[in-house]
């Protein structure tokens, strides 16, 4: 792979008591690369994302983002350039679609105690900046989101996922991690999420795309990593993954005869 490496994790480990959820997993995402992360339920996909983003503590291994050590709470990793969506959409029901996307856009200006005090004082007297409003409208257009004044609590599951992706896109991340973004999405939602992925790719940033649907992931990804019981079962070309014995074994329980 000739792309410069954006995110790299070496021998990542995560245990829950005696259960090993992620075992010696090494992961790399290059600039402009879309990495598909697939595997059946309980394979360790969401746990791997959680340890990368800091939602859970890593028990072993090392993470680097753009050559710098990636550690600390999720906010620090967000500031370093990670953006994510969640397996169960995390949108405040009270906020409107516009406000949810705006949250991703303005986060970089509220990233320290001092900037939070300044943001408070600015918020008392000045409304949302025109360039932020324009950015939100542009992102909404790119991801095919309408009805910006609707409350997130009124949205369908698919639309909530789309808004979550738009919020991550608004962060202008170095690496965007999407956890099952297509689950519950209709055709417009799938197209909007696909466009968000392409925008990040065009900017030379990376995407980790997690989903059960291997065909859908293969259609978008440059490379696929398949996890099984916390370990890497396959890492390579999407076309090869679909035809591989590992795929048959992990998803359909078929044993290999050649080995």
């Amino acid at each position: 792979m000739s792309r410069p490496i954006l995110l790299s994790g070496e021998r990542l480990q995560k245990r829950y008591g005696g259960v090993i959820a992620v075992s010696d997993v090494s992961i790399q995402v290059g600039a402009g690369e879309i990495l598909g992360l697939v595997g059946p339920n309980g394979a360790g996909k969401t746990t791997l994302i959680d340890v990368i983003t800091g939602a859970q503590q890593l028990d072993g291994g090392e993470l680097l983002l753009s050559g710098r050590v990636l550690s600390g709470p999720p906010s620090r990793r967000g500031r370093q350039g990670l953006a994510r969506t969640f397996q169960y959409p995390q949108l405040a029901q009270e906020l409107t679609v516009r406000e949810s996307i705006l949250l991703g856009r303005v986060a970089r200006r509220l990233d320290s105690p001092l900037s939070l005090w300044l943001g408070l004082l600015r918020g008392l007297f000045m409304p949302v900046r025109a360039d932020d409003e324009a950015a939100v409208e542009r992102i909404a257009r790119d991801t095919r989101i309408g009805g910006l004044q609707r409350r997130c609590g009124d949205l369908t599951l698919g639309d909530q996922r789309l808004v979550e992706v738009a919020r991550a896109l608004a962060q202008d991340p170095a690496v965007m991690i999407l956890d099952e973004p297509f689950a519950g999405a209709d055709a417009t939602g799938v197209a909007g999420i696909g466009e968000a992925i392409r925008i990040v790719q065009r900017q030379g940033h990376g995407v980790i795309l997690v989903d059960h649907n291997v065909d859908l992931v293969a259609a978008h990804a440059d490379r696929i990593m398949m996890l099984d019981q916390g370990q890497v079962a396959f890492d390579g070309d999407p076309g090869e993954c679909l035809k591989s014995e590992e795929m048959q074994r992990v998803y359909f329980g078929k044993r290999s005869h050649g080995r």
Partner: protein, 338 residues
């Protein structure tokens, strides 16, 4: 067709002019109601003082979901600062109105840092304990606070040589409360307010965007305490003193319920709730109920059962229904014509 584009939005982004017009109309109505009655004037200044405490609590509690029970102490800090500066120093009194909120803000941030690992009931219990401890301290530290008899007869507020009368303070307090509510409504819709409102429901997602949620919570607690202290300063400035019992546990419960009764969707709900709380508690006709506090408790329960979004939330709902009915009616008429 994406479901997101189905219905046209009915809510505005907190437009400025209607708010100002409503606030001015409300102030004129209050001034007309008060007329020359000193008792009604006292009630309205008390309402303004409570409204500021309620507005202070609105920021971390309603917007941010953090219930700190030390708001009686923050209001008392504002009130005592005015009295201490008036009695024990020769500093100009307007300085005390700034100093009190700053001290309350610093105390709230320190208390928030000390309790940052606590949440829910534990946070309420510890901050409640702080409120009690502060009240005990005001009784014990008689050399500073006047002890159990409090501090009375403080000098009057002077601004640039002009001594502000009680009527002047009354009108000023209306302007201050409306201005603070207006600014907090702007804050609610600002990027900072969006982050804080998001934090209440989805703290991990807000944290993942890069915003340090614990620091955001501390800032909201500090700013809320400063607003509550302004309410305390207003009380002691108008009444010419403070007593350790003035800001006790009762003000805390009122501050919690004021936005719930008035409406949680906007800080103006805390203002409406404060007016209702004072009217029910102190100005309720004794022919209907002997205890005004009991009447207020019944009103709180009725509002929470029948209009969970509070009085203003219910009014907004009625307005939206009427607008929708009107737009449906005009659409049907347009259809018939064509």
């Amino acid at each position: 067709m994406n479901a997101l584009v189905r219905r046209a939005p009915l809510r505005s982004r907190g437009s400025v002019l209607p708010q100002i017009l409503w606030a001015v109309a409300g102030m004129i109505a209050v001034v007309l109601w008060v007329g020359g009655s000193g008792y009604r004037q006292d009630l309205m200044v008390l309402s303004c003082s409570y409204a500021l405490v309620g507005l202070g609590m609105y920021i971390p509690f309603i917007m941010g979901g953090s219930l700190s029970a030390a708001y009686s102490a923050y209001a008392a800090i504002g009130a005592y600062t005015v009295c201490i500066v008036a009695v024990r120093t020769s500093w100009p009194l307007p300085m005390a109105w700034i100093l009190g909120p700053l001290v309350a803000c610093a105390v709230a941030v320190l208390l928030g840092m000390a309790t940052r690992r606590l949440s829910g009931n534990y946070l309420v219990a510890v901050t409640l304990l702080f409120g009690f401890a502060f009240q005990t301290w005001t009784i014990d530290a008689s050399g500073i606070t006047g002890g159990s008899s409090g501090m009375l007869g403080i000098r009057k507020l002077e601004i640039a040589g002009w001594q502000v009368s009680r009527q002047g303070l009354f009108v000023g307090s209306l302007v201050v409360v409306c201005s603070v509510a207006f600014l907090i409504e702007r804050l609610r819709l600002s990027p900072w307010g969006i982050a804080l409102r998001g934090k209440r429901e989805i703290p991990l997602a807000v944290e993942s965007t890069g915003i340090p949620v614990p620091a955001l919570e501390l800032v909201s607690l500090g700013f809320g305490a400063a607003v509550a202290a302004l309410g305390g300063a207003l009380f002691s400035g108008y009444n010419g003193g403070i007593h350790p019992e003035t800001f006790g546990l009762n003000i805390l419960f009122l501050a919690v319920f004021m936005p719930l009764v008035g409406g949680v969707g906007t800080p103006w709900g805390a203002v409406v709730g404060a007016v209702l709380a004072v009217q029910f508690s102190l100005n309720f006709p004794s022919s209907i109920a002997k205890s005004g506090s009991f009447a207020f408790a019944v009103a709180v329960m009725l509002v929470l059962l029948l209009a969970p979004k509070g009085v203003l939330g219910y009014l907004a709902l009625l307005r939206d229904r009427m607008r929708r009915r009107r737009s449906d009616g005009s659409a049907a008429a347009g259809g018939k014509q064509s």
